[in-house]
Amino acid sequence: MSERDEAKTGDVARPAPTPGEGQVWYSDDPRDIGWVRENIPCQTACPALTNIPAYIQAIMEKDYGRAYEINREANILPGVLGRICSRPCEDVCRHGEPGNGTPVDICHLKRSASDLKDTGHRINESLYAPSGKRVAVIGAGPAGVAAAHDLSLLGHDVTIFEREEDPGGMLRYGIPAFRLPRDVLHVELHNALRLGVELRTGVEIGNEAGQTSMTQLRKDYDAVLLTTGAMAPVDLPLSGGEGKDDPTSVKGVEYGLNFLMELHRGMKKKVGKRVAVVGAGFTALDCARVAKRLGAEEVTIHIRTAEEYIPVTKDEIFETKRESIRIKGLRTPGELLVDENGALRGVDFVQNRLGGWRENGRRQAVAIDGSEFVEPCDTLLIAIGQRTVNDFLDVELELDRWGSVKTGEGGRTSIDGIFAAGDFVAGPTTIIEAIGNGRNIAGGIDHWLMGRQRRRQVVRISPVEGPLRERSFDFIERQDMPTAPLAKRTRKLTREVETGFDEELAATESKRCYLCNLKYQIDVDNCIYCRACIEVAPKNCIKLVEGVDIREDGTYGELRETKKWDEVGAIWIDNNECIRCGACVMVCPTNCISITRNEFVTQDI
C-alpha cells in the first residue's frame, strides 16, 4: 500500500532505530500521511508538529538527550515550552478521552527532557550549503528566532533586528521569571541563534532619525521577514479619569502588558495594597502573581465569563489561587472611581450572565442592566488582550480588516520579498503557534529565494518487535508537578514556582503515553479469525469490517463495521480506539498482528 522506497537521503528527523528493528520505509502515500494525522492527535494539534510519542518514549528509556533533540527538530525551545506552553496537545490527548482518565502531562515531560539531559549534550543540526542569500528578520520573539534558526540551517545569512536590549520578545519581556527562568531562556535562544545568525539589538525600525527603514532593509537584503509580534495592549476605554476614556490617566491604573514589560526592562514597579486585574489570559494571571510578589495584600482577577472558559491552563489557575489570588467571574468593568487626589479608589463593575459563543470559540458575556457594583482597589492592571502595531512601516503593505498585514502563501505580503509571520500576522496567539508559524514561513522564504521547494514531509515507517506498553500503565494517575513551597515562592520575583519532575516522576508519567505512533495491524492473509484478539481487547478497538472507505484525498475514511460473518472482509484494529496495550499481539496464535512506528520526517526533494 505504501511506496516502500529505500530511505532517501537527507531526512533530518530520524530517531535512532531500536535494536533488532528491520527495514525502514518512507511513504508519501496519502493513507499513511492521513493515518499519522488522525491517529497521533497530540502531534497534529501541536502547531510545530512535535513528535510527542517519540520523545516520551525516549524519556521512558531515560534517553533524555534524544528526547530533547526530538523536540528540537520541531521546536527550538523545548525547555522554554516545557514550562509555558499552552498545551493544545494535552487537550486532545487520547488518555483524556472519557473512560481513559486524564491527559498525559506532555508539557512537563518536555521540560523533563530539558532538565534531565546531560550537561553539554550534543545538539543535532543538519546544515545546508551556503546559499549566498541574505535575510533580515525584524523582531527576536519566538516566531523571529524560529524562522531565523531555520533560514540559517537552510544556508542563508540571517540578521535579526530587535528593538529591545535582549532577544526573546514576549518570552523575555512578557512572561515573569518565576514561570520562565531567564537562564533557561538564554541558553535555548543562544542555541537557536549560534549557527551564524547575526543579532542586532537595540535597533528601531522606522523613519525617524537613528532608525533603520524597511525600504532600506529591503534594498540591503534578499528577503525581509516581519515578526514584531502583538506587543501593544488592547485599549479599554473606562470613564472616570481626567483623560477621557484613557484609564491610565488615573494614578494607579496601568495596562498589564506595559507593567510587565517595564518590570522586565529593569524598571522598579510598585503596586498598592488592593490590586484588581481585569482580563482572562496568561498576561492577566502573570500581572496578578507579580503584584502579589511586589507586596500587594489583596489581589483579585476579574473576568467577564467564567473560569471554565478562560484560555489558560488549569494548572496555572490553580497555582494562581494557591498564591491567595482570587478569581471572580461574570463581571465587566465600567467606570473608574477616583479619590480627591486623582488616585484610584475602586472600579464600578456590571454583573454579567453567560451568553452564546463568539466566532473565535470564546464565550460571550451579557451585561445585566442595573446590576452595577463597586470593587474597592488602589491599583488596576488591564490585560484584556494585545494587538499588533505597524506604524513603523514606511512601505505600504496590504492590511486585512483587523489592520494586520495580509499574507498569502508562504507568508508573502503584498510587496515582493517582504514576508510576515507570527503574532504580527495572526494577532496574539501562543508561543508554540508563533514558533510553528515562524518555521513554516521560513520554509516559504526558502522556497521563494531558491525558486523551488527543497523539502517535503513523508512518513517514516519502521517495524517494532513487540508491544512497548503494559496494560498496567493505563491505571497510572497523572503525576503532579512539584512546586516551590508557598511560604517562600512569593518572596522573590525570580523564584521558579514549578520545580520539575525528577527521573522517577518523569519515568512514571511517560509510561502513561499510549504511544499513538505505533500502528497495530492485522495481516488478514494469516488471520484465522479465531477472535482471540477481540476477546482480550480492553476497548472496542478490534472490529469486524466489510471494508474501509477511502476519502477523496486518498486517506482512510469510515470503517464499515458488520456483525455478520459472511460479510466480514477483515478484522481491523481501530487505532483511534486502540490503547496500544499489546494484549492482542500476545494472544494471537498465528503472529499475524504487526506493529510499526509511523512518524513524520522531512526529506530533501
Binding site: G99, R353, S371
Partner: protein, 342 residues
C-alpha cells in the same frame, strides 16, 4: 412496546433522593439509577455529629431502611465516580472505565468542603467531616477532652462545634470571612455572633491568617497551626471549614454552562435540554438578585431535587428558596440557623 426512560441521578444526598422519589411517583415505569461516590446508602449528613454521642453504626443514620431502593425500583450504584458527561451523546463515563447511557440526567452531586488553595499542601494533616467515614476518622483522631482547631467555621462546622463543646471537647475557632458561611453577616452583627459562639463554649481567635499546618512535637498535641506573621495554636485535630465548593468538575466537558457551579434557570434546567441540576452543585438564576446564586441547607436542597424531578417529567415549576436565611441568637444566647434545620 415503549422503552422505559432511563433517568440517571448523580448524587445520593437529599437533592438526589428527593428527585428520585418524585420521579418514581410521577413515572412508575421509568428506570432510575442513582450514582454515588460513597459507599453507603442515603444517610443524613446532619446526623454526622452524632458520632461524638456514641452513634458509630452507619445504619442508625440512614434516612430510609435498606430495602428502600428495592421497594422503589431504584438502582443505587455505590463507589462509582463519574469522570465525564457527554451531553451530546447522553453518555456518562466512570473512573472504572464504564460508560452508561441516560435519557435524562439530574446532577445532584452536591459540594465538597472548600480548602483554600494556599493551604492545599497541608491537606493530609487536616481532618474532614463530609462523610460518615470522615466523621468516624475524626472521632478516632480526637482524644477525649481534646482540642479541635477549626479553620473558618462555616455553619456545617459550627454545627459540629456545638456538639463537641456539649460533649466535653474543646473547639478553637480561627475566625475569618468564612465564619458563619453561607450566612451573609453584616459587620455590625458579627461581634454579637462571635460572642454567641463563645457563649456556646467555642474559643475564638479572630483576625489571624493560618499559613501552615504542621505535626506537633513529641509529647505535645498532634497538630500545630502557624499564623502569618508569627504565632501559632496547638490542637489534636485541624479541620478546615470554609464552606462548600460545588462538585462540578466532571461536568466541564458536558456542554452545559458552568461558572462555579452548574448554571441553571429557575426551573433548574441547564443549557442542555436533557440535563437538570439541583442542590449544592448548581447556581440558580435569580431575577431578583440579577445574578446566579447558590441555595444551601437540607430543606432548600431537598426541595430543589423535587422541583427538578417534576420538571424532568414535564412540569415547568420554578424553584423558590426558603425565605428565612437569617442567622439568629436564641433565648439561651446560642446561635440558631435555618441551615441547621432538617
Amino acid at each position: 412496546m415503549v422503552e422505559a426512560i432511563h433517568n440517571v441521578i448523580i448524587g445520593n444526598g437529599s437533592a438526589g433522593n428527593g428527585a428520585a422519589v418524585t420521579l418514581r411517583e410521577a413515572d412508575p415505569d421509568c428506570h432510575i439509577t442513582i450514582i454515588t461516590m460513597g459507599s453507603l446508602p442515603f444517610y443524613n449528613r446532619y446526623d454526622l455529629p452524632r458520632v461524638f454521642r456514641g452513634c458509630y453504626d452507619w445504619r442508625e443514620i440512614l434516612v430510609h431502611p435498606l430495602s428502600y431502593y428495592d421497594d422503589n425500583d431504584i438502582t443505587l450504584r455505590r463507589n462509582s465516580r463519574v469522570t465525564d458527561v457527554d451531553g451530546r451523546n447522553r453518555m456518562i463515563a466512570f473512573a472504572h472505565n464504564e460508560a452508561m447511557h441516560y435519557d435524562r440526567l439530574l446532577v445532584c452531586a452536591g459540594g465538597q468542603g472548600y480548602l483554600p488553595e494556599d493551604l492545599s499542601d497541608y491537606r493530609d494533616l487536616m481532618s474532614g467531616f463530609g462523610s460518615f467515614e470522615a466523621a468516624i476518622s475524626t472521632y478516632k483522631a480526637l482524644p477525649a477532652g481534646g482540642a479541635l482547631i477549626m479553620l473558618g467555621g462555616d455553619m456545617i462546622g459550627l454545627d459540629l462545634a456545638r456538639t463537641l463543646t456539649d460533649t466535653g471537647y474543646r473547639v478553637v475557632l480561627l475566625a475569618n470571612e468564612y465564619t458563619f458561611w453561607p450566612h451573609k453577616v453584616q459587620d455590625d452583627e458579627r461581634d454579637g455572633f462571635i460572642n454567641a459562639l463563645e457563649h456556646m463554649g467555642v474559643e475564638v481567635i479572630d483576625g489571624v491568617h493560618p499559613v501552615a499546618v504542621e505535626e506537633g512535637e513529641a509529647g505535645k498535641p498532634a497538630r500545630r497551626v502557624v499564623f502569618e506573621g508569627g504565632g501559632d495554636v496547638l490542637g489534636d485535630v485541624v479541620m478546615p471549614s470554609y464552606g462548600l465548593s460545588p462538585t462540578a468538575e466532571f461536568m466541564l466537558g458536558s456542554g452545559v454552562d458552568i461558572e462555579r457551579g452548574v448554571l441553571v434557570d429557575p426551573t433548574l434546567h441547564t443549557t442542555d435540554e436533557n440535563i437538570w441540576a439541583a442542590g449544592d452543585v448548581c447556581q440558580i438564576w435569580s431575577a431578583e438578585d440579577n445574578a446566579y446564586r447558590f441555595y444551601y441547607g437540607w430543606n432548600n436542597v431537598r426541595l430543589m431535587g423535587e422541583v427538578a424531578a417534576r420538571n424532568v417529567t414535564g412540569a415547568n415549576t420554578a424553584f423558590e428558596g426558603l425565605e428565612d436565611e437569617r442567622l439568629r441568637i436564641d433565648k439561651k444566647g446560642h446561635l440558631s440557623s435555618p441551615f441547621w434545620e432538617h
